[in-house]
C-alpha cells in the first residue's frame, strides 16, 4: 500500500512538473524536502528584470533570484529627455519592487564575479548564490583603452552619461545650462556596436531643442566614427525642419573619429588631425560587454559574448545564459526592447527545458522610437526569425518611419514613444515610473 502511494505520488509529481501547479502544491506534504529548480540572474536592467518576471510567469515552480548592486535603475530609454531638461531623472528611475511583488527573490549586493561552471554568483559580502541555471545580464562597460586621455576620472568634467545614473545625466544637463550663449556642444560617437544605435542622434536633437529655447546662438556638433547611422534620413529631415543650421554631423570620411580627449581643455583630437574645442563635451566611449561576462571568460576577443540564438545560452557553458547589450545578437541592435525580447525567449526556453517540453520558436521584434522634439517622434522596427544558428531579419517586414510623413504622424509617434516606455517598463519590471 505504501509502495502504491509512492508510485502515485511520483506520477503526480511528473504530471505537475513545469505546469505551475507545483508552486501551488508546495506547502503540501507530497513534496517533502524537495524544492523547485533555482535560477540565478546576475543583473537587474531590462534584460535581467524581464527574464525574472517572465520566469515567474512561465516556470512558477522555479525559485528565481535576481542580484544587482543597485536598488535603482536609471533607464537608457528616455535618458536624453533628462539631458535635454524635459524630464527629471526620477521619471526614468525604476526599481525592483515590482519583481519582488511577483515573487522574485531580489538581492541588492555587489557581485564580485560569476562562476559559469558552478552557475553561481559570488557576492562582495562573501555570499555565494548558486542555481540550476545562471543568467548573466551585465550590460556594457566603457572601453577606456580605446580613447587616449579619457577615463573614469574624467566623467565629472567630460560626462559620458550613457546613461550612467541620475547624477551623470543631471551633470550633463547642468553643463548645458551653464554654457555660453553662443557656445558649442560636441558629442563623440563610437563605431558599431554600442548601446542604443540611434541614441547619440536623439541626444543631439534634444540638446538642440534645449539650446533653441535657452541658448539660441549655440550649436551641436557630432563627431562620428561611422559614415552612416541609425534612422539617418529621418534625423536629417528632423534637424533641417526643427533645428536648421544648429546640428552639424561629421563622419569617418571627414576624419571625425575621436582619437584622444583633452579633458582639461575640453578638446577632441580627431583621426583627421583636427583639434576641436567644446564648451560642453559629451564623450560616448567605445564599449564592450560588462565586466561580469568578460571576467568569467564568456566574451570573445572583441569583448562581446557569443550566444546560441535559440535560448541565449553561452556555448560550452551548460546552464548559463547571457542576455542584453553584452551579447552578439546581430542584426538585433543593443536596445532595451531587444533585451526584453531576448529575455522572453530565454525564459521560455528555460521553462520548456525544466518541463521537458520541446522548444518552440516564435518571431522576435525590436521596436525603437527616438524623439527629435517632444512632439516629433520617429521609429525603426524589425521582425526577426531564427534561421539555423543565426538571427535573420524578415525581409518583407520592418523599416523606419515614412520619410514624407506629416506633423500628425510625427506627433503620434512621439506619443507612442512615451506609451512604449511605460509598457516596456511594466512588462520588464512589473511596475514603474513614467516620463512626461
Amino acid at each position: 500500500m505504501s509502495d502504491g502511494h509512492d508510485a502515485r505520488r511520483r506520477a503526480l509529481m511528473r504530471a505537475l512538473a513545469g505546469t505551475g501547479l507545483l508552486a501551488a502544491a508546495a506547502p503540501m506534504p507530497i513534496l517533502g524536502a524537495q524544492r523547485g529548480p533555482r535560477i540565478v540572474i546576475a543583473g537587474g536592467g531590462f534584460a535581467g528584470a524581464s527574464c525574472a518576471l517572465a520566469l515567474r510567469r512561465l516556470a512558477p515552480a522555479a525559485r528565481v533570484t535576481l542580484i544587482d548592486r543597485q536598488r535603482e535603475f536609471v533607464t537608457g530609454p528616455f535618458c536624453n529627455t533628462v539631458v535635454g531638461g524635459l524630464n527629471p531623472a526620477a521619471a526614468i528611475t525604476q526599481d525592483h519592487r515590482g519583481l519582488a511583488a511577483a515573487g522574485v527573490d531580489v538581492v541588492h549586493a555587489e557581485i564580485e564575479g560569476v562562476d559559469p561552471s558552478a552557475r553561481a554568483a559570488h557576492l562582495a559580502d562573501g555570499r555565494r548564490i548558486a542555481g540550476d541555471r545562471l543568467v548573466v545580464a551585465p550590460g556594457i562597460d566603457f572601453d577606456y583603452d580605446a580613447l587616449d586621455g579619457y577615463g573614469p576620472e574624467a566623467l565629472d568634467r567630460v560626462p559620458a552619461a550613457w546613461p550612467g545614473g541620475a547624477a551623470a545625466l543631471r551633470r550633463l544637463h547642468g553643463q548645458l545650462q551653464a554654457m555660453p550663449e553662443d557656445g558649442r556642444v560636441v558629442l563623440t560617437v563610437p563605431d558599431n556596436p554600442y548601446r542604443c544605435p540611434p541614441g547619440p542622434y536623439e541626444r543631439a536633437s534634444l540638446i538642440a531643442h534645449f539650446l533653441a529655447e535657452h541658448k539660441p546662438r549655440a550649436r551641436v556638433l557630432l563627431l562620428d566614427a561611422k559614415n552612416h547611422f541609425s534612422k539617418e534620413p529621418l534625423f536629417r529631415i528632423g534637424w533641417d525642419s526643427r533645428y536648421p543650421g544648429r546640428v552639424e554631423w561629421r563622419g569617418r570620411d571627414d576624419g571625425a573619429r575621436a582619437m584622444a580627449i583633452d579633458v582639461a581643455g575640453r578638446r577632441v583630437h580627431t583621426v583627421g588631425g583636427d583639434e576641436i574645442a567644446a564648451d560642453v563635451l559629451n564623450v560616448i566611449p567605445p564599449q564592450r560587454a560588462g565586466r561580469l561576462a568578460r571576467d568569467a571568460g564568456l566574451a570573445d576577443d572583441a569583448g562581446w559574448v557569443p550566444v546560441n540564438v535559440h535560448d541565449f545560452a553561452a556555448p560550452g557553458h551548460e546552464g548559463v545564459h547571457v542576455l542584453g547589450d553584452a551579447i552578439r545578437a546581430e542584426p538585433m541592435p543593443k536596445s532595451a526592447y531587444s533585451a526584453h525580447m531576448q529575455a522572453q525567449v530565454c525564459a521560455r526556453a528555460i521553462a520548456q527545458a525544466l518541463a521537458g517540453e520541446p522548444p518552440g520558436e516564435a518571431p522576435l521584434i525590436n521596436a525603437c522610437y527616438s524623439l527629435i522634439a517632444p512632439d516629433y517622434g520617429i521609429s525603426v522596427t524589425e521582425v526577426y526569425r531564427i534561421n539555423g544558428d543565426r538571427i535573420a531579419a524578415v525581409q518583407q517586414a520592418g523599416g523606419t518611419s515614412a520619410l514624407a510623413a506629416g506633423p500628425d504622424t510625427r506627433r503620434a509617434e512621439s506619443e507612442y514613444a512615451r506609451s512604449l516606455y511605460r509598457n516596456l517598463v511594466r512588462d520588464s519590471f512589473g511596475s514603474g515610473a513614467a516620463p512626461g
Binding site: M341, S379, Q396, A397, S401, T409
Partner: protein, 105 residues
C-alpha cells in the same frame, strides 16, 4: 519544356504575394508569439498611454486590424504585420481576446 514547369510556380508565387512568400512558419502558440508584442502593448496587451490596448479585443476585430495594417495602415504596425501569416495572426488574436480586462483602478 522547362518553361511549362516554371509557369505554375511563378503563378503560385504571385498568388501568395510578396507579403506571404517569407511569412513566418513556426509556433502558433499565442503566448509565445505575444512575447514580441507586449514590450509595446504592455503586459497581457494592457497598454498605458497612446499605444492601443489590445487586451480583450474580439478576435474578428484583431484580425480586421491586422489585415488593415498589412494593407499599409498605421505608423508602425504596417511594418510589423506583414511578417505574420494567417495562422500566427489567428493565434495572437485568440491569445489577446482571452486576456482579461484590467482591474478598475
Amino acid at each position: 519544356m522547362q518553361s511549362r514547369f516554371r509557369l505554375p510556380i511563378v503563378l503560385i508565387a504571385l498568388a501568395v504575394g510578396p507579403a506571404q512568400a517569407q511569412a513566418l512558419a513556426g509556433t502558433t502558440d499565442g503566448a509565445d508569439l505575444a512575447a514580441a508584442c507586449t514590450g509595446c502593448h504592455g503586459p497581457g496587451g494592457h497598454s498605458a498611454g497612446a499605444v492601443p490596448d489590445i487586451a480583450g479585443m474580439p478576435v474578428a476585430e484583431f484580425e480586421r486590424r491586422m489585415a488593415a495594417f498589412r494593407d499599409g495602415e498605421g505608423t508602425i504596425m504596417n511594418r510589423l504585420a506583414p511578417a505574420y501569416d494567417a495562422a500566427a495572426t489567428a493565434a495572437l488574436a485568440r491569445y489577446f481576446a482571452d486576456r482579461p480586462e484590467p482591474a478598475s483602478p
